[in-house]
Symmetry: C2
Subunit: 307 residues, 2 copies
């Protein structure tokens, strides 16, 4: 689905945030892990089933509160193919619940290889006369270090399927400065990447004024967020780094346009691990996640109302 | 395994090349596809089994001729989790055959997430008291756009497991110039990335003088290859872009040190799809691949002998 569909879900829930589904086994309430290990032993399958149960419980609790979820591929690949199989099930479950799915894969490779990623994650795979969906996310994240031909195959499939993508511009981590802050004749690398992202997205605008190529810009860099929002008026922003990484509701206000549109803020551990602070040993993980998501929504929309 | 182990396999086979295992269904001989579709229908499973049979046949034919294989994750993810499951089997089969496995995943993400990728691809996953290998490749490719904290978790696991990684420096595709050629106060982005890669690898040198953080440098840019070889004397190079993308044996000579060590050149379609040029409808795909690999070895080592 396009960013317009995401924006509509944001308006419907009154909530411009996305819940990360990035569970390590240590984030899962002990009773769920014990159940799975009892059934499957200390195996990758047990870990995958414990996390799937956790993901589903989170989504049941968050449905209607958040418009979107963002499963991060790393935490699924950590469990080998059993984890990747479970990631597919997680995406299906989310879509059945009406949640927009951003698959956080940060893939980036040359043309033919990028096409394979794009077909696998957003499009369809041809087997004989059959066209088969695989991961079938609504949106993915990509890495544009390799330039246009690493991104255009994703855009091609996004156009065909009415979907969207986010390219890394300014990441939320401390080492982002290593490369992204270096100066290129008066412009920094992340600014140049922002310009490239804007250029790649040109030629399409949805009802809210956004194209299909969004940008990842970390909540931990509010100045750059404000500057990039101004420089890239048609670029939807995915804003990681809220909460555990240090970004606040004040910081993320700069990501939005004057209508409070055009951006979505991610929280992973703050929502997933909320149960660790309530003293109920995880029995209340759904309720804790829901309360954390509501608190985050209220903090952000108090400063940035959605019109 | 470390780059020293790779270098020893290169010396043993007299061949500094790696065979890419990047099969789309259209690269697989028709009789293998037909067999799989007969058994499994037009399904992702059928596609995965056809490609697995092809991969195994290629490795049987190439064993003893090439020191290493490089499965590209995109072509496995193209088939959903069934493809990823088959990628694991492909890695296991390669290692049983004594082939060094470079998992071409180009992952790059922030600290905690990079750790999950590193554990899944190079290390082990903890489930209760069990430490379980997952993809368990010998080496991976990574993308350093996010800086040191996207790469250091891979290096940490590589140190623990005596393995290695390659970071993208100068990619082989035409759009590499979009970002990588931009000038930063007299240095280009790819040169800065090269310096970062050298810095990340510092503090370790194997018997051949190479550390654990290699660099991806495309065969399609011979001048940059020569310049980077000089600038990065302890950095092992993975050189894509030979053959189908235009790189030649003359071009890749600049990747090696004076002993003919320190680099490995990839060919994917040139080897995998060699059967398409022999007129035998793919019945001879193993032999065709073996002949193509021998021709590539001979062309490269005629110009660059391995001492």
């Amino acid at each position: 689905m396009s960013f317009a569909a995401l924006q509509e879900k944001i308006i419907a829930t009154g909530n411009p945030t996305v819940a990360g589904l990035d569970a390590r086994l240590s984030y899962v309430p002990p009773f769920l892990v014990e159940q799975a290990v009892q059934e499957y032993g200390e195996t990758r399958k047990a870990a995958a089933e414990a996390i799937f149960a956790f993901n589903c419980g989170l989504m049941d609790a968050l449905s209607g509160i958040v418009p979107a979820v963002k499963p991060q591929a790393a935490y699924y690949e950590l469990l080998g193919w059993e984890g990747v199989e479970m990631m597919e099930r997680t995406i299906r479950y989310a879509q059945e619940k009406g949640l927009y799915v951003i698959a956080d894969i940060k893939r980036g490779d040359i043309g033919a290889t990028a096409s394979a990623y794009a077909e696998g994650w957003l499009g369809k795979t041809a087997v004989g006369s059959a066209k088969l969906p695989c991961f079938d996310a609504d949106c993915v994240t990509v890495n544009g270090y390799m330039g246009a031909d690493a991104v255009s195959p994703f855009l091609k499939v996004a156009n065909e399927e009415d979907k969207a993508l986010f390219a890394l511009v300014r990441t939320s981590n401390p080492s982002a400065v290593d490369l992204q802050d270096l100066e290129l004749n008066g412009k920094k690398v992340y600014e140049v990447m922002g310009d490239l992202v804007a250029k790649w997205g040109e030629g399409y605008e949805d009802a809210y004024g956004y194209n299909r190529v969004g940008a990842v810009v970390g909540a931990t860099w509010p100045e750059q967020l404000a500057q990039l929002r101004k420089a890239l008026p048609h670029t939807f922003f995915l804003v990681p780094g809220y909460g555990a990484q240090g970004g606040t509701a004040e910081d993320v206000q700069y990501a939005f346009d004057s209508q409070g549109h055009g951006a979505i803020v991610n929280s992973s551990r703050g929502i997933m691990c909320a149960w660790q602070k309530t003293g109920h040993n995880g029995e209340d993980y759904g309720e804790a996640a829901r309360n954390a998501a509501i608190a985050m929504r209220d903090a952000i929309t108090a400063i940035t109302p959605i019109r």
